[in-house]
Symmetry: C2
Subunit: 405 residues, 2 copies
């Protein structure tokens, strides 16, 4: 098979979208739920706070009993009890009475405000107050954060630390989330060796894709295992077939062998079907995708930068959506510091360094130059309908950080 006719980026993305898979769900302890995606709506089991709660250390009392009190005209109340956090007091506060209260403790019946300790002095059960408070002051009202029975988070919400706190407060000790997809990364290439400080045999090259693509999979919420296959049809076929039985997604890198075209796509065609091979983008044109055993296979380039870009363009969204999480490039407009040529009909993802206002492409753009990804923090995206930009034009930029899980 060969890239005789390139698909447009949109056509290729649409084919992937039409074959989107979603993993199952699982119930996990809330303490493991950070950075997972909700597979159920969260309906509150409790009010939060469950009662009118003191927001200060001080004295619970009737606000109107303090009206007019000041440094020069103090008032006197009677202390009738004390409540610590976690304690409950069933006394009713009457006119002229106050009760010592800790932050977090329930406001007793009859009281409607808390006067901070620093505006008072005490002598036995006599409380002298030097300031007034309005009713409701320093009180966190019952259910102000969460109302019992209310839906407070929806299925498909990504659980950041703050959502985690909210879910716990609503009474959930376990939560239903989408499973993490299991991804098999099959590295092909007879020329590849493991990293070593020692002299490397002529014609061999260190395999870096196994590290970068695995890290990118993990940065997409999924779990990655690495496998290796020689460049022959049979070796790649066996590796893909086995992976298709045990994993949710398959990704390959490399796989070009003399006179055989792209052996990986031949394997996908043999075991299942090819969705596309060759997309009008730069870098990353030779990207392919297919279906084997109802699993999607992404076939990335062996060139490190092409493989990373292909992952960002095609695989991230797929992995996010597998876990019920939506994903779209967050595009911002920045001023181009350099002229950027492009070609009509091709979408470019140009490694760039972007600051608050400006963006410039990194100068060394070969698809084998990992350093170009290291110097970059963003892509400039040039649409297939644009022939590039002049210096000073506002261009579409996506920060690498915004792509992460």
């Amino acid at each position: 098979m060969f890239l005789s006719k390139l698909d447009s980026l949109n056509d290729a993305l649409k084919l992937i979208d039409e074959n989107q898979l979603v993993v199952g769900t699982e119930k996990i302890p809330i303490r493991e739920a950070h950075k997972r995606v909700l597979a159920e709506d969260i309906i509150a089991y409790h009010n939060s706070p469950p009662f009118d709660k003191s927001a200060m250390d001080g004295f619970a009392l009737k606000g109107e009993n303090t009206f007019g009190a000041s440094q020069s005209a103090p008032k006197t109340l009677k202390i009738v009890d004390a409540i610590g956090a976690g304690d409950f007091c069933d006394k009713i506060i009457n006119e002229g009475e106050a009760i010592v209260i800790a932050t977090g403790a329930p406001i007793p019946e009859g009281a409607d405000a808390v006067l901070m300790k620093e505006y008072t002095t005490t002598d036995g059960d006599e409380l002298t107050i030097y300031s007034q408070v309005t009713p409701g002051e320093n009180v966190s009202p019952k259910a102000e954060d969460i109302k019992k029975g209310e839906k407070i988070l929806s299925k498909n919400t990504f659980i950041r630390y703050q959502e985690l706190g909210l879910i716990a407060s609503a009474g959930y000790d376990t939560v239903e989330v989408f499973k993490k997809p299991r991804v098999k990364i099959i590295i092909t290439g007879n020329e590849l060796v493991e990293p070593t400080k020692e002299e490397i045999d002529k014609a061999k090259i260190i395999n870096s894709n196994q590290f970068t693509i695995k890290a990118m999979v993990e940065d997409s919420g999924a779990i990655a295992d690495i496998g290796h296959a020689g460049d022959t049809f049979d070796e790649v076929r066996e590796a893909v077939l086995e992976a298709s039985k045990e994993y949710d997604v398959i990704m390959t890198t490399g796989g070009t062998a003399i006179s055989k075209g792209d052996v990986v796509l031949d394997v996908v065609d043999d075991l299942g079907s090819v969705l596309f091979h060759g997309v009008s983008i730069r870098p990353g044109k030779p990207i392919g995708a297919g279906i084997v055993n109802d699993k999607v296979v992404f076939t990335f380039s062996g060139q490190p930068v092409a493989a990373m870009s292909q992952f960002d363009i095609f695989a991230r969204k797929f992995l996010f959506k597998m876990q019920g999480r939506d994903f779209n490039f967050e595009i911002t407009k920045k001023e181009a510091m350099l002229k950027i040529p492009s070609q009509l009909g091709r979408t470019d993802f140009i490694r760039s360094f972007t600051d608050e206002n400006h963006t410039r492409h990194v100068l060394n753009r070969g698809s084998g130059i990992i350093r170009s990804m290291v110097e970059a923090n963003s892509y400039i995206i040039i649409d297939e309908n644009d022939e590039g930009y002049q210096k000073g034009d506002m261009v579409d930029v996506v920060f690498f950080n915004s792509l992460l899980w």
Copy 2:
């Protein structure tokens, strides 16, 4: 102890900075180094690519032998050998000769370009070419990415997936990184119970800080263990003392008990020294910090939102810097959609929702309202020298996402 006099934010941050600790370093396998911080410079052991490498499947040849070739005026060359990826060919290419070459294979001596397969036909060892290539075309020159002996990354670099690939390509199978700090989070509060769907005892409240603060510590590259302590001086003292022996950092939440002021700060004062207690910020005013057994202790509020903001303002930078990674708020300017009042002398961190151009504070701002953090994606920061903003003013915004490890 009480918050009789508040420190300014800058003074408090300076005190923390003066007591900044750095963890030790450790050598780990490169496959575990994603999202760690380099504790050594990376000096390349190899060139990458290690040789002039073919970037295409095709024919290695002398570029000038192709000059003038076109569809209407093809030229003919002689195929003298074939090189697969990982193979080495010591033949020298002479005038009129070509060699079959795979992507990734070394360019043989005498050749200087690769003509893509699709512009050729073959008949036995006769190669007909229908296009010309300039010398250097489709060749990735030796060392274009990495030069042997060159420093390609510096100590203190954060290892994203692309740095990981670069380090591997430079020949490192292990790498020296900063250790992950171990943080003990001590939750205080007699009123706290674990999340449950069942009816909760009067006066009890679900403990959510244990989940949010642990997740925030993990989002700062560190490891967190949770402990609990009752609200008494002795219980808190024992918990802090034990933690100071085993952990790199201690964080507490809550700790307010009747008539005892802030028991946690009393404990810090007893076991070591208090750096500050009470900072002129909102939310989070009661924040404290101190030193026990040469370890820094952060004392956060029990109120969930105050605790999260205190973490962001005081603890993130400390944890980042412990691991050799710099951290500063990435401030962007956005247009305020609503008027925001503030107070001279106080720095406000206002939970806000910010899009491409605009920002607005979330309306419910109580420091117990976790939902306000859930509705927010950013802080609007109002400097102590500002009295707030009018609608339409450009204000300082920090996205929550930009705070993460």
